[in-house]
């Protein structure tokens, strides 16, 4: 492949990144051993993409994003189980709840920088964890929230069998696709350009007259909203919300996924989520010591492939 061919291919990909991503995801279930895994990848991929808005595009490393995945999941679940809200509304409730927490956490955390930002987000998300843990009547506490059972859902007057794994995948894909499209539009907008400017050089961005703190805050909240949507979808998929969703290890997982996939690319986090889950799935069958392999792979990536899988692939294509 010549240089100009590769470059124009990449340019084409950049212009239609959302469409290409969605196109790929349409055929994705046939590439996976079972649909439940494919849905998990969809949902966690969205989680990683939402996280990456802050990490890859704004340059802020948060260790507290589990709070948004979790509050989205719990919001959706509680609305459905305890208040009988129909599924569509429940998803909305989930997103709103995660936006709520993102606003609070963002407001408090934006004042800090660098390593301290990671630490504050970690501490604040642990507070959210304990909050949900203690509200046993609503959340089920340690036992998790059960009973998010959707067997049939109504879409535009049609009744769709949600227990059918393939159907479930495409319904969830509809939401994820919409989110990806929205995300792409956002990045392409002037707002997106400001985010990248802040990542490259915060002082210069401020010198250009941008209200950096406000932009960071908005980015934080939007990132939280995407993760909240992912959480709500996850709740519908698994029919439960485990309390572990809010634990800082879940925050750590999304960091790994974004890094594995490639934090400077649009689709990278998705690839990272897929790689992470597939690795876990495959490794578990091969050895009970899969955590060793996973940790080692992660170390290797940090050392030698900081661009991540997808980032390295793209870079290699350009180099050719």
């Amino acid at each position: 492949m010549t240089m100009s061919n590769a470059a124009s291919l990449i340019a084409f990909g950049k212009r239609h990144r959302a469409a290409l991503a969605i196109g790929f995801l349409l055929i994705f279930p046939w590439l996976m051993p079972y649909e439940a895994l494919a849905v998990n990848i969809l949902v966690l991929g969205l989680y990683a993409v939402g996280f990456n808005l802050l990490f890859g595009y704004t340059g802020l490393l948060s260790f507290g994003h589990a709070a948004f995945l979790g509050s989205g999941a719990y919001g959706c679940g509680i609305a459905l189980v305890h208040f009988g809200v129909p599924w569509f509304g429940a998803i909305l409730v989930g997103v709103l709840l995660s936006v709520f927490f993102a606003a609070i956490m963002g407001f408090l955390a934006i004042r800090t920088r660098g390593i301290y930002f990671a630490m504050v987000t970690l501490a604040l998300s642990q507070c959210v964890y304990y909050l949900f843990y203690q509200a046993v009547n609503l959340t089920g506490g340690e036992n998790g929230l059960r009973g998010i059972n959707l067997s049939e859902i109504g879409i535009l007057g049609f009744s769709v069998n949600f227990l059918n794994p393939t159907t479930k995948y495409y319904v969830i894909l509809a939401f994820v696709a919409f989110a990806l499209w929205l995300f792409s539009r956002l990045l392409a907008s002037p707002f997106g350009a400001v985010l990248e400017a802040i990542r490259e050089n915060e002082s210069r961005a401020r010198a250009c007259g941008y209200d950096v703190a406000r932009v960071k805050f908005i980015a934080f909240v939007i990132s939280g909203a995407f993760c909240g949507l992912a959480g709500a979808l996850k709740a519908l998929h698994l029919s439960i919300v485990p309390i572990e969703t809010l634990h800082y290890l879940t925050s750590g997982q999304v960091v790994m996924m974004a890094l594995l996939g490639g934090m400077n690319t649009f689709f990278g986090p998705f690839v990272g989520a897929a790689a992470f889950l597939l690795l876990e799935d495959v490794l578990t069958t091969m050895t009970s010591h899969w955590q060793l392999v996973l940790g080692a792979i992660f170390v290797v990536f940090v050392l030698f492939f900081p661009k991540g899988i997808w980032g390295s692939v793209l870079a290699w294509m350009v180099r050719k």
Binding site: L163, P165, Y170, L238, S288
Partner: protein, 420 residues
């Protein structure tokens, strides 16, 4: 008009494309043929899904459960199976994570098309598995402790509970300890559902005996340091201290209580004493601690089926003996397979009926499933940890009491929300 064109160039896609994709997606979803049907195979291998936490802090128990379950499968197959159909165990690692367990269960049901599911260790995980299986009409026989799974909120007619629940074990230990060691009781409780269930079990056993609760001190689950709670417990001067937590938490709490010198004036009891926890904690730390369990291998001294099971396990695993949770793996699988034979079919509803009617003695004495909540009514052993007179390295407990199977020791059906 101009804005649409600009957005196209900027890398977005137009609204028209989104709507088209959406409509296409819905059409696809609506018209997907039944590539999938929940009906399980009525011929061929009988598949039993077995999700257990092979990795993580209870890996040892889980591996034991697998070993014991495989013995049940082997027994079944060597006896000719069911109408020539053999059984197969599909083991999956749920990593002690409810989300992972739900995914694995979906995999087992949707991809592997299992007939039945047995397994789980930890309350949260079994509730998660149960949530998936009951929605899809698959029998789930849970082999770990929990009170919640019998409650009407989570329960379904496809849910069976082979293991004990905290109410039963705490009750048995309470009835033994309170009459023997004293009526003033303090609790050190892990602050989660399982912990509270244990306390409730103790208190309901203690009430008719006139037991007085001095304090119920809650600690956060997963705490590694209990020293902050011990001075207060000491100052209360109880006769009995019930440590209501599990696994690592229990080892830590007992270790530190011993170190603070609590054992000199206070009898320490626990609702459940895990074989593996005792081995990991060591004889000194657990010396004199009394607890409950569903099974201890020395039961073979008095119960013939225990000996038969132990011998099979020893033969298959180089002289090793089954642990408490391990034995549950055996019983859980064997119940289901026996019910299939009794029902004369693998059809779920008929197997459910057969399990409800089942009276069995597989490894510890007589057992049967209670009607209202499918709880296995069985004996509870009260054991005391020992450090002297150990016949061999496996002989870590003495059986000091056996509570025979009795529905009175369970929470009442009404209590659990079931209509009579």
């Amino acid at each position: 008009m101009t804005s649409t064109r600009i957005s196209k160039r900027r890398g977005g896609i137009s609204r028209r494309e989104v709507l088209a994709a959406g409509a296409g997606g819905i059409a696809l979803a609506g018209f997907t043929p039944s590539l999938f049907s929940i009906a399980k195979a009525q011929t061929g291998v009988i598949k039993i899904g077995f999700p257990v936490p092979l990795t993580g802090p209870f890996g040892a128990e889980a591996n034991d459960q697998v070993k014991a379950a495989e013995i049940a499968i082997k027994e079944f197959n060597e006896a000719g199976g069911f109408q020539g159909r053999l059984a197969e165990l599909l083991v999956r690692d749920d990593k002690l994570n409810p989300g992972e367990a739900a995914t694995r269960t979906l995999e087992l049901i949707e991809k592997d098309k299992v007939n039945y599911v047995v397994g789980s260790l930890s309350a949260a995980v079994q509730l998660s598995i149960n949530n998936v299986t009951k929605e899809r009409g698959v029998i789930f026989n849970s082999i770990s402790q929990s009170d919640a799974i019998n409650e009407v909120k989570d329960w379904s007619k496809f849910t069976f509970h082979e293991a004990l629940n905290p109410h039963m074990t705490a009750g048995a230990v309470g009835r033994y300890a309170f009459s023997k060691f004293g009526k003033k009781v303090a609790y050190l409780t892990a602050d989660y559902a399982y912990g509270h269930e244990m306390v409730r079990g103790f208190e309901s056993a203690g009430k008719p005996l006139g037991v007085q609760t001095l304090a119920d001190i809650r600690h956060p689950i997963g705490a590694s340091d209990y020293s902050a709670f011990l001075p207060r417990i000491q100052s209360l001067r109880p006769d009995v201290l019930c440590i209501c937590n599990f696994g690592r938490d229990q080892v830590n709490a007992v270790k530190q209580a011993t170190e603070f010198g609590l054992k000199e004036k206070i009898k320490i009891v626990a609702p459940v004493l895990l074989y593996t926890a005792r081995v990991a904690g060591g004889p000194e730390i657990f010396e004199g601690v009394v607890g409950g369990t569903s099974y201890y291998w020395r039961l073979e001294d008095t119960v013939p089926t225990a000996k038969a099971f132990n011998d099979k396990f020893r033969a298959a695993h180089g002289g090793a003996v089954p642990s408490d949770y391990g034995a549950l793996g055996y019983a859980g699988v064997r119940s289901v397979l026996t019910a299939v034979k009794n029902a004369g079919t693998t059809d779920t509803d008929k197997v459910v009926a057969a399990m409800r009617a089942l009276k069995y003695d597989f490894y510890k004495g007589p057992q049967y499933y209670r009607d209202c909540d499918h709880q296995s009514v069985q004996s509870v052993l009260v054991i005391e940890s020992k450090s002297k007179d150990m016949k061999d390295k496996n002989d870590v407990f003495s059986i000091v009491g056996i509570e025979n199977p009795d529905e009175k020791n369970l929470r009442s059906c009404a209590d659990l929300g079931h209509k009579a």
